[in-house]
């Protein structure tokens, strides 16, 4: 009797409860899948906008001499490229994946705070609209670097307050998004899913969300102090008024270093989902992976000044930050060893998501190696602010974060669309991306070691050869990404996807139909059943 009533009730509420038609579906959406889709599309658009700026940078740097742009505009391009890629492409892409997949992975009907979810997305187009509009302002777009160091950033023209405001908006969006993730994960898991039973992607996002809540307000505080220094007569960072320009760097990097892990921990999560699926074997050392990720998150708060080894810190301070930074290699190593151990004696197949994940493990490790080299303070004095650093962080961000996002997109695309994507096209996209990303960024190690500083629009002729190689690679990488658009445009033409999609897939998201219906898990599922294939 009670069940019948409950069923009737459910039918009343949810049957025929499809999306509204037209633009209102998207503008007023509170559905985690729709919002996830919007986040992902937004981040892809930003990826191309930021990518176009990278093309301007690499075109100018292809040969020595100044051919296309003035130095001011060049500096605007490097600044905007970084801001857009960090805050507009990588972070929203991970939030998009979180929106789509976390409720499906933990068996929740939606995100815990759907209206806030809507708001945290719709702030982003406004924030980036403001940021991009600075390109048209007198004095040009911000050109002081994405790190916004004063006093230089205070020389920005009319764009300055718009830059600060857009950073505030991005911060608000991120904080709301991460509160949503935390509340969802803590409260809405399937009843039998204990914390340590959660999939790795959910775990890494939980940790990431805490990092975001901890550091985005710090960034907001730092840029607010810039704003008051500029317009309200304060001297937080102005030496002439008794302030300290270096203090900004400490505050900025207290945000900036955890930010690095905000961009890589969800990538670890994605890869930790994909490698077991295509190795047909359980993730090796699930619990130690969780501890390692938590450990990385903790350490990320006490290493910030390794970005500042040349500002003139006391010796003891530098020693502390060197040792703490080197320590990060340990939990990061654990992650990599666990992935390799997951593959070991598995039965691997190499579909596109797996290919991107394998490239991630290889190339992120190379970025990790250069990171270890950068931790050695005396050597960092030589590397600091050269192309060696540019090579390092592009290795961890492009074949790191971006490849993980691509891997995740290919992995879950059939669940989203209900059709298999074009595998041939996907593989072509993978190989083109992997080859060109190395042609672009590997020679930059050599440039940095040979003495080429970063953020310069022109260079001495001895750097010409590798710069040309790098530029050719960059154009190739940029064009390769059009293949991904082709994959998306043809995504619905493939054969119908099964519910499980992949032979080795596991977890709750594969128990719902493909495409995932607009509402899923209106009644809580049993997580144990989904994992039985591996038990």
């Amino acid at each position: 009797m009670t069940t019948a009533v409950a069923d009737a009730h459910a039918a009343e509420d949810h049957d025929d409860h499809g999306p509204t038609k037209g633009y209102k579906r998207w503008l007023f959406s509170t559905n985690h899948k729709d919002i996830g889709t919007m986040y992902l599309i937004f981040s892809l658009v930003m990826f191309f906008v930021g990518g176009a700026m990278a093309m301007v940078i690499r075109s100018e740097l292809a040969v020595p001499g100044l051919q296309f742009v003035h130095p001011e505009f060049f500096n605007s391009m490097t600044t905007m490229h970084a801001l857009i890629m960090v805050f507009g492409a990588v972070m929203p892409a991970f939030v998009g994946l979180a929106n789509w997949m976390i409720p499906l992975m933990i068996g929740a009907p939606d995100m815990a705070l759907p209206r806030m979810n809507n708001w945290s997305f719709w702030i982003l187009p406004v924030a980036f609209g403001i940021l991009l509009s600075t390109l048209l302002m007198p004095g040009g777009a911000p050109a002081g670097g994405w790190t916004m160091y004063p006093p230089l950033i205070l020389q920005t023209g009319d764009a300055f307050p718009f830059l600060i405001f857009s950073v505030h908006l991005m911060g608000i969006s991120s904080i709301m998004g991460s509160i949503n993730v935390i509340v969802t994960i803590i409260n809405m898991r399937a009843p039998d899913m204990t914390l340590l039973k959660m999939p790795m992607f959910v775990w890494t996002w939980l940790i990431t969300a805490y990092l975001l809540i901890a550091v985005m307000p710090v960034l907001a505080g730092a840029v607010t102090m810039l704003l008051t220094d500029q317009f309200f007569g304060t001297s937080f960072f102005l030496a002439a008024g008794g302030g300290d320009p270096v203090m900004f760097q400490h505050i900025f990097w207290f945000f900036g270093h955890p930010e690095v892990y905000i961009m890589i921990l969800p990538a670890f999560g994605v890869v930790s989902e994909i490698i077991p699926t295509f190795s047909r074997k359980k993730l090796f050392g699930h619990d130690s992976m969780v501890y390692a990720a938590s450990c990385i998150a903790f350490l990320s708060f006490i290493v910030w000044a390794h970005h500042m080894f040349t500002v003139g810190m006391p010796l003891t301070g530098q020693l502390f930050f060197m040792f703490a930074t080197m320590l990060i290699a340990v939990p990061t190593g654990v992650k990599i060893f666990n992935w390799v151990a997951t593959m070991w004696r598995g039965a691997m197949t190499f579909e596109t998501p797996m290919l991107f994940s394998l490239a991630f493990v290889f190339l992120f490790t190379i970025g990790g190696f250069s990171g270890l080299m950068l931790a050695i303070q005396p050597a960092d004095v030589q590397y600091h602010d050269t192309y060696f650093v540019v090579a390092h962080f592009h290795y961890v961000l492009v074949p790191g974060s971006v490849f993980a996002i691509m891997a995740g997109a290919y992995y879950w695309l059939p669940k989203w669309t209900g059709h298999m994507y074009n595998e041939k096209l996907g593989k072509l996209h993978f190989w083109a991306s992997t080859i060109f990303v190395n042609i672009t960024f590997f020679p930059q190690h050599f440039l940095g070691l040979a003495g080429m500083p970063r953020r310069i629009p022109d260079y001495s002729v001895q750097f010409a050869d590798f710069n040309l190689v790098s530029s050719i690679g960059a154009i190739g990488f940029g064009l390769s990404q059009l293949l991904f658009v082709a994959v998306l445009l043809t995504a619905k033409r493939g054969e119908k996807a099964t519910d499980r999609v992949w032979e080795g897939s596991h977890g709750l998201e594969w128990t719902v139909p493909s495409p995932a219906p607009w509402h899923t898990f209106t009644t809580p599922p049993k997580a144990r059943i989904a994992n039985e294939s591996f038990e």
């Binding site: 001499g65 100044l66 742009v69 003035h70 130095p71 500096n75 050109a143 006093p151 230089l152 020389q155 002439a240 300290d244 047909r280 074997k281 359980k282 090796f284 050392g285 699930h286 619990d287 040349t310 003139g312 010796l315 530098q318 020693l319 060197m322 040792f323 080197m326 290699a329 340990v330 190593g333 654990v334 060893f337 390799v340 997951t342 593959m343 070991w344 039965a347 197949t349 290889f362 490790t365 270890l372 080299m373 050695i376 005396p378 004095v381 030589q382 600091h384 602010d385 590997f442 190690h445 070691l449 040979a450 003495g451 500083p453 953020r455 260079y459 001495s460 002729v461 010409a464 050869d465």
Partner: protein
């Protein structure tokens, strides 16, 4: 790939330079040594990790009929691959810390030079000799660097790395550099001297070098400092002590004449 790069290094011309210069000070050689030590550790770790992974990629594939194993945990392995990296890190950290201590020891200099950064040039003041001058991008580069200047920059000698007035120091002297800035943050770097330190308004930073070889060493500003950040090079000429004294005398003479003519 980096291994391949190093092998090529021995035969490559300067234009395809692959590695950090050894430099001309004791500390630059130590820094180079640290850099290479960590690099070879990375190569070794890479060979092991990538080696295991590549073997797995070839042996454990479904198309070869591999059956997935069921293990998913090993405490022994976890402890080992936590402990071994800690030991390797300690091996790296000790010599790095030793070099750091030396880098920071600016006591007892023979010469002290105050370098003040401006957008976009350097000003040098020799504290005891009473010499001071501005040092900015050399004229041929200034003309060639303009957008579509029509000048083939490969014909300009030391394009973007030459100045009108270089810093001159004697070989074998401990030179202390005091760095500050008049406007925004800049950074003073000469790779061959293995010295990089920020010039920050309101703060005086110290660093030092002791060149062992006569020669001309070039570097650049390495902290983004505005539109002409790429155009404020640094040139240090290391000369024999006698030549240095002659330069000091000539400078003083020249400065005095210049002052009296005013």
């Amino acid at each position: 790939m980096s291994l391949l790069g190093l092998l090529l290094a021995s035969t490559a011309s300067a234009d395809w330079a692959l590695n950090m210069p050894r430099g001309v000070t004791d500390l630059s050689a130590e820094t180079y040594g640290l850099h290479m030590m960590v690099f070879w550790w990375c190569v070794a770790i890479g060979v092991v990790v990538f080696g295991v992974m590549i073997i797995s990629l070839f042996m454990h594939r479904k198309s070869k009929g591999a059956e997935p194993a069921s293990f998913s945990h090993s405490t022994v392995a976890e402890v080992l691959w936590t402990a071994i990296p800690v030991v390797i890190l300690l091996i790296m950290a000790v010599p790095a810390a030793e070099t750091m201590v030396k880098l920071e020891d600016t006591r007892d200099p023979d010469i002290s030079i105050v370098a003040t950064a401006y957008q976009w040039k350097w000003h040098y003041e020799y504290q005891d000799e009473g010499i001071d001058f501005y040092s900015s991008l050399a004229r041929p580069s200034v003309e060639a660097r303009r957008k579509q200047s029509g000048v083939d920059v490969s014909t300009v000698e030391n394009y973007l790395l030459d100045v009108d007035r270089p810093v001159v120091v004697p070989k074998g002297a401990k030179v202390r550099l005091l760095l500050t800035s008049n406007d925004v943050i800049h950074s003073w770097w000469v790779p061959e001297l293995a010295i990089k330190k920020d010039a920050i308004p309101g703060i005086v930073n110290e660093t030092w070098f002791k060149p062992n070889e006569v020669g001309t060493y070039r570097g650049q500003c390495t902290e983004l400092c505005g539109k002409d950040h790429g155009y404020m090079p640094i040139v240090v000429e290391v000369v024999e002590p006698a030549a240095y004294q002659a330069w000091v005398d000539a400078r003083k003479d020249g400065d005095a004449k210049f002052a009296s003519a005013q």
